[in-house]
C-alpha cells in the first residue's frame, strides 16, 4: 500500500467533503466536526450518489440523492437500508491528509 498526500485538511470544508480521482474510481474524502477524516468510495450503494456532496455528521454521511445514511467506520448503510461502500485508510500528520491506496505508484 502507498500513502498518498492529498493536501492540507483546510482544502476539505469542515462538515463537508471533496473527492479524489483514482485508478479505482472516485474516492470521497469527508471531514467531520472534530476534524476526523474518512475516505470511502464516492458511490452510494443505493443509486451511486456522490457521497462527497452529502451532509456529514459524526461518523455518518447522508447521501445527497435519497438521504441514505452511511456509517463511515463500518462502510455500511444504516438500517433500514442495506449496502456497503469500500473504506480506505487515512491519516493526518500536521495538517497534511494522507490516503492509503493499493496498486498505485506514489
Amino acid at each position: 500500500m502507498e500513502w498518498l498526500a492529498l493536501g492540507s485538511i483546510e482544502e476539505i470544508p469542515a462538515l463537508g467533503g471533496r473527492y479524489v480521482d483514482t485508478p479505482q474510481g472516485q474516492i470521497a474524502i469527508l471531514r467531520n466536526e472534530n476534524d476526523k477524516i474518512f475516505a470511502v468510495s464516492n458511490r452510494c450503494p443505493h443509486r451511486g450518489g456522490p457521497l462527497s456532496e452529502g451532509f456529514i455528521s459524526g461518523k455518518i454521511v447522508f447521501c445527497p440523492l435519497h438521504n441514505w445514511q452511511i456509517d463511515l467506520e463500518k462502510g455500511e448503510a444504516m438500517a433500514p437500508d442495506h449496502g456497503c461502500v469500500k473504506t480506505f485508510p487515512v491519516k493526518i500528520e500536521g495538517r497534511q491528509v494522507w490516503l492509503g491506496l493499493e496498486g498505485v505508484t506514489p
Binding site: P23, N32, E53, N67, V104
Partner: protein, 816 residues
C-alpha cells in the same frame, strides 16, 4: 466514606418497575447521557420489558408472546444495566437512600425512578378470590387465561370498557362462550354515547359476544372454583372463567409508606419529581395536575421529560396531555376523544348511516373541536384530534367536518383513504414503495410507537410526506391510541427537543449567528446535526440576521452549494435567469453556442418558461457560467424560482394589462430571495389567465381596473387554487404587496413548508390583516426583504470571479 471514592463512582439510578414507562424513560436517558448513571432496574414480573398493549393479540392467538418483547435481555446487558426480574421492591428508605426487596436485597440510589404502573381494580364482592377469577393486566394473566380457555366453557367479563371488550374478543377467539356484564345501558360508556354504543354492541354480538347490561354484580358463586355470578336483582349466570375489568388503580403503596405525597396516584410536578426531589415517578402510577393516565402516549411524554431532568439537561416541562382512544378489536373501527357527549353550551355535527354501520359525531364549542366520536369509519380521527389539540377555528368548514379534510381542499398531508380497509399489499408510501403489510409488521415486531420510528425503520412517509396521514392511521389502528405523542410540540429533528419556533426565537433573542453556534448554545445531541436540521437552522439564521449571519455552505443541500441541480447520474443542470421569460436572439445564440461547445447532452425548456442545459459535469460548471455571462436562475434552490408571464397588452389582442413587463420587474425585484421552500410567481394579462397564476405561490391577474393578487396556490403534489389577497392598481403596489407577503412567509413559515399549507395553517385573514390592512407593517416587511436581498450576490458571478469556491475540481487526481 472516603470523599475521593465518592468522586470516582458514577451516580446510581435505581428504577422500580420494568414496564413501558420506566424503560422508555431509561431509553431516553441513554440517548442523552449514556455514561451518567450506573443503572439498576427492579421488576416483579419474570419477563424483560414487553409491550403490554399487545396482550390482547396474544390472548386472541394473533401474535406470539415473544413478538411483544420490546427490550430483550441483551439490551440491558449491552447498556450495562443490572436487571432484577421477579423481584418486588417492598420499601424505600429515603434516609439511607436505598430500596429493599421482598427477598431481602437492598440497592442504594442517588436518584430513584418509580414506574410501578397500576393494578387491576377488584370488585369488593364475595367470592372475588376464588380460583377461576382473573384480572387482565399482565403476561401471567394472559398465560393463565389461555390455559383456562383450553378447557372451553363459559367466560363472564365484568366491566364493558376497553379492556373488557378486548378480553371478550380474545376469549371468544379462543373458542369460549363469552358474556360481557356492564352496569350501564351500553358498553364503553366512557368512550361512546348511546347511539354509538348500540352500533358497537351489535357488531360485537355479530361476533358471538353476548351482553348483559344495566346489571350490578353482587356475588361470585362457587366453593372451590368459580361457577357463576349473581346480580343485585338476584338473577344469575353460570361461568367457568370470570374476568374483572372494572378499572385500574395506580400502585402507590410503597410510595405512600415512604412518606411521598399521594392521592389517587403518586403526586408529581411538571418535572415529574415527587415530594422527595431525588425521587422521580412516571407512568400509570403518577398523578399530575390532578390527572392520571392509562394510555402509553402521555406516559411516553412523561418519560421524555423525566429523562431530560435525570440527564441534567433540566429544560423540558410536562404540562399534561390530551388523549384519545381507539378500540383494538379486529374489524371494529372506533375512535373517541375529549368530550363526546355534548349537551348544553355545545354544538354537535353528526352523521349516521345505519346501513353501513357508520356514525360520526363532532362536538364543538366556540367554533373549536372539543371532542369527537367516530364509529365504523375512523379515517378522520387523526385529523380531528389534531384540530382539537391545536384549538383550530373550524367555522369555515364546520358543516362538512364529519367528511374530513378531503372535502375541504387539502394542501396539507393527511391521508384520505381508510388505511385499515386497505389490503396488506396496498402501497402506502409511493416514494419508497412501502406496502401496508410491512408497516404493520414493523410496528408490531419492532415495537414502534411514533411516526419518526416508522420513518426510520420502513422509510414509509420519509420522503414527500404525503402518506403521513395514512401511516398515522396505521399506527393508531395497530397500537390503539394516537402515538404522535407530543402533537403541539414537534421537535425539529432527532438532534434536539426544540421545535422550529423555539429554535427561531432563540436565534433571534440570543443573536445566534451560525449553525454551529446554534447547535452549541441549544445543546444539540449530535454536534454535527443531520440532513434535516442543518439546512433548516442555516435558513433561520440567514433570515434572522441577513447581514451578520453566516451562510454555511456545508449546511445547504448540494444543489444550493453547487448552485446547480444535481441529477440522478451525479451530473448537474444549468438554468440561467431569463427575467419574465423574455429573451433575445443574441442571448439565445450565446446559450446555443455554449451548449454546443461543451457538448451539453440535452437542452430543454423547463416548466417555468426557462432554458435548461442538462448533463453538465460539476467540473465544467464555472466555465459554463462564465461563458453564459448570465445570472443564476436559482432553479436549484429553496428560493424565488421564476416569474412566469403571458404576452399581455403588448401583443395579445385580449390583454388588458402589461403582464410581461410586470413579470420582469417582479423577477428583478425578488431575485436571489431564499425562502422556506421554492417560490413561484406568475403574471397574466387578463382573466384568461394563460400563465396559470392561480396555482402559484403569488399569482397576479390583470383586470381592467388593475391587478388581482392571489396567494397560496400550488400545482405540485397537491393542487390548490390560490386565494384572492387583494386588488391593487399600479406595478409598484403589486411589488410592495408581493414583497410584504413573501417576507411574512419567510419569517413565519417552517423550513420546507410551502405557501399553500402555510396559508391554510395561519389563515388568510391573519395574513390580510398584516399585509393588506396594516400599511405600516406592510412597508416594514417589504423593507426587511429589500435589506435581506441587498445582502445577496449572484452566486455564479461570485464563482466566476473566484470569490466563491464550489469545489468543482477533485481534490487530487491520482494516476495509475
Amino acid at each position: 466514606m472516603n470523599p475521593v471514592a465518592v468522586q470516582h463512582r458514577k451516580a446510581r439510578l435505581v428504577v422500580v418497575g420494568n414496564g413501558m414507562a420506566g424503560i422508555r424513560a431509561v431509553e431516553e436517558l441513554l440517548k442523552m447521557a449514556p455514561e451518567l448513571y450506573e443503572i439498576t432496574i427492579f421488576g416483579d414480573e419474570p419477563h424483560p420489558n414487553y409491550n403490554r398493549i399487545l396482550l390482547t393479540p396474544v390472548l386472541a392467538g394473533e401474535m406470539a408472546l415473544e413478538e411483544t418483547i420490546l427490550n430483550p435481555l441483551g439490551w440491558y446487558a449491552e447498556h450495562g444495566i443490572t436487571l432484577h426480574t421477579g423481584s418486588r421492591v417492598t420499601a424505600i428508605d429515603r434516609v439511607k437512600r436505598q430500596v429493599l426487596t421482598e427477598d431481602g436485597c437492598s440497592a442504594p440510589y442517588d436518584r430513584l425512578l418509580l414506574a410501578i404502573g397500576a393494578a387491576a381494580a377488584i370488585a369488593p364482592i364475595p367470592g372475588n378470590h376464588l380460583p377461576g377469577v382473573f384480572s387482565y393486566r399482565d403476561m401471567s394473566d394472559v398465560e393463565e387465561l389461555t390455559r383456562s380457555s383450553e378447557l372451553g366453557g363459559e367466560a363472564v367479563v365484568i366491566g364493558g370498557g376497553l379492556l373488557g371488550l378486548e378480553v371478550a374478543h380474545g376469549l371468544r377467539a379462543r373458542g369460549m362462550g363469552v358474556t360481557v356484564v356492564h352496569r350501564r345501558a351500553w358498553p364503553l360508556d366512557k368512550q361512546l354515547d348511546a347511539r354509538g354504543g348500540a352500533l358497537l354492541q351489535k357488531a360485537m354480538e355479530d361476533r358471538g359476544v353476548r351482553f348483559l347490561l344495566d346489571k350490578e354484580s353482587a356475588e361470585i358463586l362457587g366453593d372451590t372454583h368459580v361457577t357463576g355470578l349473581r346480580f343485585t336483582d338476584d338473577s344469575e349466570i353460570s361461568a367457568d372463567v370470570l374476568v374483572m375489568t372494572i378499572g385500574i388503580k395506580p400502585r402507590i403503596a410503597i410510595a405512600q409508606a415512604a412518606g411521598l405525597q399521594c392521592e389517587t396516584g403518586i403526586l408529581v410536578n411538571d418535572t415529574l419529581q415527587t415530594y422527595d426531589p431525588r425521587i422521580y415517578a412516571v407512568g400509570e402510577c403518577v398523578q399530575h395536575r390532578g390527572q392520571t393516565y392509562g394510555l402509553v402516549a402521555p406516559l411516553f411524554e412523561q418519560a421524555k421529560v423525566a429523562a431530560n431532568h435525570l440527564a441534567e439537561y433540566g429544560r423540558m416541562r410536562y404540562q399534561g396531555s390530551v388523549t384519545s382512544t381507539k378500540l383494538k378489536v379486529t374489524g371494529i373501527e372506533l375512535f373517541s376523544a375529549g368530550d363526546f357527549m355534548g349537551g348544553e353550551g355545545f354544538e354537535e355535527v353528526t352523521l349516521l348511516d345505519g346501513n353501513q354501520g357508520i356514525y360520526k359525531k363532532v362536538i364543538l364549542q366556540d367554533n373549536k373541536v372539543v371532542g369527537g366520536l367516530l364509529y365504523g369509519d375512523t379515517s378522520i380521527g387523526p385529523w380531528l384530534f389534531q384540530l382539537m389539540r391545536d384549538g383550530t377555528d373550524v367555522s369555515a368548514f364546520r358543516d362538512n367536518i364529519v367528511f374530513g379534510e378531503t372535502h375541504l381542499g387539502n394542501s396539507g398531508h393527511a391521508g384520505e383513504n381508510q388505511a385499515s380497509r386497505l389490503a396488506d399489499g396496498a402501497e402506502i408510501c409511493g416514494c419508497n414503495g412501502v406496502a401496508k403489510g410491512s408497516i404493520v409488521r414493523a410496528i408490531r415486531e419492532q415495537g414502534l410507537f411514533t411516526l419518526e420510528e416508522v420513518r426510520k425503520c420502513t422509510k414509509a412517509s420519509a420522503s414527500c410526506g404525503s402518506c403521513t396521514g395514512l401511516v398515522e392511521q396505521l399506527l393508531a389502528s395497530t397500537l390503539g391510541g394516537f402515538y404522535d405523542s407530543s402533537p403541539k410540540k414537534k421537535a425539529l429533528c432527532g438532534c434536539t427537543d426544540f421545535t422550529h419556533q423555539e429554535i427561531r426565537d432563540a436565534i433571534i433573542q440570543q443573536k445566534l449567528l451560525s449553525v454551529r453556534q446554534t447547535f452549541a448554545r441549544l445543546g444539540w445531541r449530535h454536534p454535527g446535526g443531520c440532513a434535516t436540521c442543518r439546512p433548516a437552522v442555516n435558513y433561520y439564521v440567514r433570515t434572522a440576521w441577513p447581514a451578520e449571519g453566516l451562510d454555511d455552505a456545508q449546511s445547504r443541500f448540494i444543489n444550493e452549494r453547487a448552485h446547480a441541480n444535481i441529477q440522478k447520474d451525479g451530473t448537474y443542470s444549468v438554468i440561467p435567469r431569463i427575467y419574465g421569460g423574455v429573451t433575445s436572439p443574441a442571448e439565445l445564440k450565446r446559450i446555443a453556442e455554449v451548449a454546443e461547445r461543451h457538448n451539453v447532452p440535452m437542452v430543454k425548456f423547463t416548466g417555468g418558461q426557462r432554458l435548461d442545459l442538462l448533463g453538465v459535469k460539476k467540473e465544467d460548471l464555472p466555465q459554463i457560467w462564465a461563458e453564459l455571462g448570465m445570472p443564476s436562475g436559482h432553479a436549484y434552490g429553496k428560493a424565488l424560482r421564476t416569474v412566469k408571464s403571458c404576452v399581455g397588452t403588448e401583443f395579445c389582442r385580449f390583454g388588458v394589462q402589461d403582464s410581461t413587463h410586470l413579470a420582469i420587474e417582479l423577477e428583478k425585484g425578488l431575485e436571489r430571495m431564499w425562502a422556506p421552500h421554492k417560490v413561484k410567481l406568475a403574471v397574466s394579462g387578463c382573466p384568461r389567465n394563460c400563465s396559470e397564476s392561480t396555482i402559484k405561490d403569488f399569482g397576479i391577474i390583470g383586470v381592467d381596473s388593475g391587478w388581482e393578487l392571489y396567494v397560496g396556490g400550488n400545482g405540485g403534489m397537491k393542487v390548490r387554487a390560490a386565494e384572492l389577497l387583494c386588488k391593487v392598481k399600479t406595478h409598484d403596489e403589486v411589488l410592495e404587496m408581493a414583497k410584504a407577503f413573501l417576507q411574512m412567509y419567510r419569517e413565519d413559515a417552517q423550513y420546507l413548508e410551502r405557501t399553500a399549507p402555510w396559508v391554510e395553517r395561519v389563515g388568510l385573514d391573519h395574513i390580510k390583516a398584516i399585509v393588506v390592512m396594516d400599511v405600516a407593517s406592510r412597508q416594514q416587511l417589504a423593507a426587511r426583504l429589500d435589506f435581506a436581498l441587498s445582502q445577496e450576490k449572484d452566486p455564479w458571478a461570485e464563482a466566476v470571479s473566484g470569490c466563491l469556491n464550489i469545489h468543482a475540481a477533485p481534490l487530487r487526481r491520482i494516476p495509475a
